[in-house]
Symmetry: C2
Subunit: 169 residues, 2 copies
DNA sequence: AATAATAGAGTTACAATATAACATCGCCGC
DNA sequence: GCGGCGATGTTATATTGTAACTCTATTATT
């Protein structure tokens, strides 16, 4: 299994996105293989759409872009693929905008800290485990048992922040 | 302005909820007063419903419980009140369940770390600022500017955790 | 290869959540 | 009183997410 830890600021810096996306796709394939799950055409197609860039897409945006080839447009299909991909740790749900973003951290199933730019929509993902363990610690102090965490911040990515600065200094 | 920092595990421990709720209501009144905002009947009524206990309610659950007195049932009204209350820091939105919970930390406008029990629905709120500043720090390292944070954990409160243990050890 | 078991796809219909747009009301300062 | 403005009331609609059921494809078993 590949175990490449992507630079968190990857989406913000210029890079060869074609290989970035194809690596992630190959990784997805490997992950499914290793867990005896089927990486079907629908699942692949949805992931591919999300891998187009480092932005989050809503389920209905995916629905629109999806090639239905004569079949009837059904949100269910998209949600099923998304649920599967999320359970495999290949995409993350962005709760603050009801959207989904491909995961480029080619590591095992994991939580994520997401930074979402409210202007351009780019999503930066950090693997910062300290936050997650602090959350765990906090929970344990009160007897809480955590099943899943949600860590997001909404704001401006560096370039949109500069642009906003320029307009409203 | 009152500045009482509630014990984060308040919702989990037996307490005089009547006074707990009425304190929060009085606080809300004071907050609005001090910021020259009107604490109208609709806003008060929605907050009162949320103050019934330490659980989150969906907007449509509030809609159902709301006393409309002849007026037509409109989600908009509920959302408007919720938006206002949230902007005043009197309620928090629980993104993981599209719901809203009253805030019992009688302090100035603030973010929150929410622990949500997926069994009984109780919401525990922590004022842990370390998490928030860690998030800020992480953001700054990548040039991100944060406007708002979303910190939630879903799991089991102590008593539901014990119950789950008993069933499935 | 035939067959049973199961996971996924396809389809229709619908539930749940949230907002747009616009008219009207009521409070506050003048 | 009146003008401005924030809040309410109303209708309609947009957006997001599931239920329920059938059918097909893949895999395991014989």
């Amino acid at each position: 299994m590949t175990q490449i830890a992507a630079d968190p600021s990857l989406p913000l810096s210029p890079h060869d996105h074609r290989s970035c996306a194809s690596d992630a796709l190959a990784h997805a394939e490997a992950v499914c293989e290793s867990r005896n799950k089927r990486f079907t055409e629908n699942r692949r197609a949805v992931l591919k759409l999300l891998l187009d860039d480092h932005r989050a897409l809503g389920a209905y945006e995916i629905l629109r872009r999806f090639d239905w080839g004569g079949r009837s447009r059904a949100p269910v299909q998209v949600y099923r693929a998304l649920d599967f991909l999320e359970s495999m740790g290949l995409v993350h749900r962005v709760a603050s905008s009801n959207a989904y973003v491909a995961c480029y951290r080619l590591a095992e199933r994991h939580g994520a800290v997401l930074f979402v730019c409210e202007t351009c929509g780019v999503v930066m993902e950090c693997g910062e485990l300290n936050l997650q363990s602090m959350m765990d610690k906090l929970a344990r102090q009160s007897g809480f048992t955590i099943h899943s965490q949600l860590l997001e911040a909404v704001g401006h990515c560096p370039s949109c922040a500069r642009a906003a600065e320029a307009v409203d200094p």
